[in-house]
């Protein structure tokens, strides 16, 4: 089944510059594994070494943030559209302190 994935500028080095790619999967993690097989290294930008969704990456299925849909276990259906956006975040606080504040 085909899922259209919108790729942000910062990840287009993995997709040969393409803004959108197609992938397949019944769940978000299945889709990400499929994309990683076609675009090596892609997964590492979205998933932490511990296997969770990166705190500063937003992924949406259609109009919903996947954090409200079961995160990596979120179900996908044929024709769904997935959008990836790097969080826009920062601030004066040191990085370690920010990470602690945000419970990473």
């Amino acid at each position: 089944m085909a899922i259209e994935v919108r790729v942000p500028t910062i990840l287009r080095s993995y997709t040969g510059g393409s803004k959108t790619v197609e992938g397949a999967g019944d769940t978000l993690i299945g889709l990400i594994d499929d994309l990683d097989a076609k675009h090596s290294g892609f997964k590492g930008r979205l998933i932490t070494p511990e296997g969770g969704l990166h705190r500063f990456v937003n992924i949406y299925i259609n109009d919903e943030d996947v954090r409200f849909l079961g995160a990596l276990d979120a179900k996908l259906n044929d024709g769904d559209s997935v959008t990836i956006l790097p969080a826009v975040a920062g601030g004066a606080l040191g990085f370690a302190a920010a990470a602690a504040l945000l419970g990473r």
Partner: protein, 143 residues
């Protein structure tokens, strides 16, 4: 310094008004412009979902909505701005680590001194920060 950010004075004023209004919390937002133009024309103040004096993060749903809107309008985020409220207008390590829009001018303002407007612009690409000149222009108004 390489590069230059050319920006209308009215937009600079709007950024400071937003930053002063939210002080001592950090304020953040986007200036959209036509894709490929490098011209920041549409001021979009964003919610700081962190509501913090030392951290900012776009609300994820507002982020999606605004990025879709820009796509539909054939626009891109020309400027991403935020305020530091107790420190200088220079990217912190956090800002550098989290910068995810390599095509944007990252504008930092500081509201640490009530009467002093600090406004600086940077490119942040792959962890490297390059400050650029800021050219503030007065819009031409046809009389």
């Amino acid at each position: 310094m390489n590069g230059v950010l050319t920006i209308d004075r009215a937009i600079v004023d709007a950024i400071f008004a937003h930053a002063r209004r939210d002080h001592p919390d950090e304020a953040c937002g986007v200036i959209a412009g036509p894709a490929g133009s490098d011209a920041p024309t549409r001021f979009i103040p964003m919610d700081n979902s962190a509501r913090s004096q030392t951290f900012y993060q776009f609300d994820s749903m507002e982020h999606l909505r605004v990025w879709r809107e820009m796509d539909d309008n054939d626009e891109e985020p020309v400027v991403i701005y935020h305020s530091h409220t107790a420190t200088e207008a220079y990217p912190s390590r956090t800002d550098i680590n989290l910068a995810g829009e390599p095509g944007a001018h990252y504008v930092l303002v500081s509201t640490r001194e009530p009467g002093l407007d600090e406004f600086r612009s940077f490119r942040i690409v792959d962890g490297a920060v390059t400050e650029e000149k800021v050219d503030i222009v007065d819009a031409k108004v046809d009389a």
